[in-house]
Symmetry: C2
Subunit: 151 residues, 2 copies
């Protein structure tokens, strides 16, 4: 699924958006991740999207390794997140936190809690050297080892 829309961008964010940047993709993964949704019909009911789009997204996730399928009857199967799919959780939380701050006049529709202790879970930046939580203006992008890949 990589390299179609943003093929000229050597950028990991662009690579992620190739996988999950299409309409509805991250909301389907949200439902799997936080709603425990596994079945096509349940995704369909929750999201109300066109069946052909939902089917294309789920098939694409399987192809990209974000989900795997498991038969639960002769005719039906479940879609389960893989580790690669679960690893999108910070992106979903980050978008949620932005929406909570800027587009939720009635307050957050949902809050994230730590299963162990019930505490509120939020994302923070963390500096590996000084241990601080840098604000946006204090974070800069520098070239990494994959800046100019040999291939």
């Amino acid at each position: 699924m990589l390299g179609r829309t943003y093929g000229n961008q050597n950028c990991s964010a662009a690579r992620a958006l190739e996988a999950v940047g299409e309409r509805w993709s991250l909301l389907i993964i949200r439902d799997a991740m936080f709603g425990g949704v596994t079945r096509y019909t349940d995704f369909q009911r929750n999201l109300g999207i066109a069946p052909n789009i939902l089917a294309a997204r789920l098939d694409g996730f399987v192809e990209a390794g974000l989900m795997r399928t498991r038969q639960y009857s002769d005719q039906h199967r479940e879609y389960l997140l893989t580790d690669k799919g679960w690893d999108l959780q910070p992106a979903i939380i980050a978008l949620t936190e932005w929406g909570d701050r800027w587009a939720a006049p009635a307050g957050p529709p949902a809050v994230y809690r730590h299963r162990d202790c019930g505490g509120h879970v939020q994302l923070r930046t963390h500096c590996s050297t000084c241990g601080q939580t840098p604000p946006p203006a204090q974070v800069a992008a520098h070239p990494g080892p994959g800046r100019d890949p040999a291939s």
Copy 2:
């Protein structure tokens, strides 16, 4: 810009995607945030996208309050991120980290560093109660105060 594609979803992640979920949106914001890009022609050169799409995205960002404009000559203006736009940084970092882990065989094209000390900046979950960094399976979504808004 809210409420068009995901109008039936009372979800802050969906609200965020209404603002920045269209093709190229987050990469334009990435260039403004980490590349210091402010001018239409520079966005155009960096991204290579169709002029009408770029213009529509920039105008949409201004309308949504993610960017503001500043004239720098009689005929040209700059597009500058607002606080609301800067606040998308965690979403961009989260997508980048996912791409680094799953779609960067040559290594990360870019790394995020703390301007103050040069340390590597990463995102972490943080539990407000126990202070731990819960892994994905330990984070659950619960109804929040905006779950059933009066309006």
